[in-house]
Symmetry: C2
Amino acid sequence: MQNILASIKIPVNQNLFLKDPSTSELGQKIIDGSIALMNQLGFERFTFKKLAIEIQTTEASVYRYFESKHKLLLYLINWYWGCIATRITLETRNIELPEQKLKKTIHILTALPNPEIDSLISNELALKEIIINESAKVLITKDVDEENKVGVFSVYKTLVSNVAAIINEVNRDYPYPNMLASSMIEGSNQQRFFAAHLPKLTNIKEDSDFVESFYLDLIFNTLKK
Amino acid sequence: MQNILASIKIPVNQNLFLKDPSTSELGQKIIDGSIALMNQLGFERFTFKKLAIEIQTTEASVYRYFESKHKLLLYLINWYWGCIATRITLETRNIELPEQKLKKTIHILTALPNPEIDSLISNELALKEIIINESAKVLITKDVDEENKVGVFSVYKTLVSNVAAIINEVNRDYPYPNMLASSMIEGSNQQRFFAAHLPKLTNIKEDSDFVESFYLDLIFNTLKK
DNA sequence: TCAAACATAATAGTATTACTATTACATTTG
DNA sequence: CAAATGTAATAGTAATACTATTATGTTTGA
């Protein structure tokens, strides 16, 4: 499969930027540069000044596009989940069997992206690492209610409810489809962080990838009637 | 049950403080005050200056005990998991049946503490809320490797491995006990955050508490042979 | 064609906050 | 009772998130 999605416009909530970065050259440089630099430094150490130096512009110019680094990270996260949601829709469209559909969905959500095969964007792996490492910092915040009000999380909520629907196709009576979906999505990223830094919290041995297997086992056992 | 644990000394890693707060009156005021204030303001808005004003001391005095607010939060988290680990040990000691032991463990880890019955400390609920809301901010960091080196997470790792052992008592062949344990511990807190702020990511209706039921169902179905 | 209107970018700041160096006061101990 | 030690207060510095203002193109309409 080629980069079909590269040409598909992923809509991102208007409240996340001052000026749409996809409409200008500098905007694109801000996005690409921030993915690289934020992944390299981490959210705390990442600053607009360092970004500006990196992409050869000024701090204030970055502020023309994003009112804060918090909003910039939200933009990246939003865009990422938009891509994933689109991938699930496209790649499960022609699958009839609910079990196969769910299996594919679990794969998309929990496996590491293969840059050769299913990469949506040039730096998907770097972006995924940002999701793994930094998501919690903007999601688990005192401001979450206000941000939720302006629709910042609607993309994510739609994704969870779509996955929940696929879960219910496999077992109509399962009472916690949304919890199962959201805990898989969040948990798989967290398990990856643990595997890299606190491996004693996991059962990942050497280089074999146990995250996808863990969730396949967990979810299909739970949904078994 | 009374506050048996109030008299039990919970050991906290020496690297987390400059001066042990449990050894002085001001130290105790710093702990109690920071639990209240951090819960109220959130980690970002919480500062040592605000804390100092609240407990009628000075910013510098607080720095005598903790070298940063990051370390202070780590201290609180460490202490909390120390309490929980002790509770699990004590409250499952006399249970013979592995299934009953696991059921009790899941209850301790996923249910909200009942202030009347099983409260370890005066402000356990406030501390639990801090764990729910702020844990990720100190755990998911670029510094995690260095902090892990000095043993900051050993309490938490022991807890996970104890729960994993209880899981394996129920099913010896289950291949992912640590992942199941850590994803329950982290996931239950996250689901509580979602329930409060992004309820569409959960299946919690009204005031009934679905978190414990969700994990009971999930884990016992997964471990069924 | 040319200047008014607007978009974009650069300069030079301010306010906040995490953290520290130094000094002062109080308490314990031989 | 004085030396040693523990504890607290004052007055900073450095970093960083963010802003106010000015400068430089770019487009648009008579």
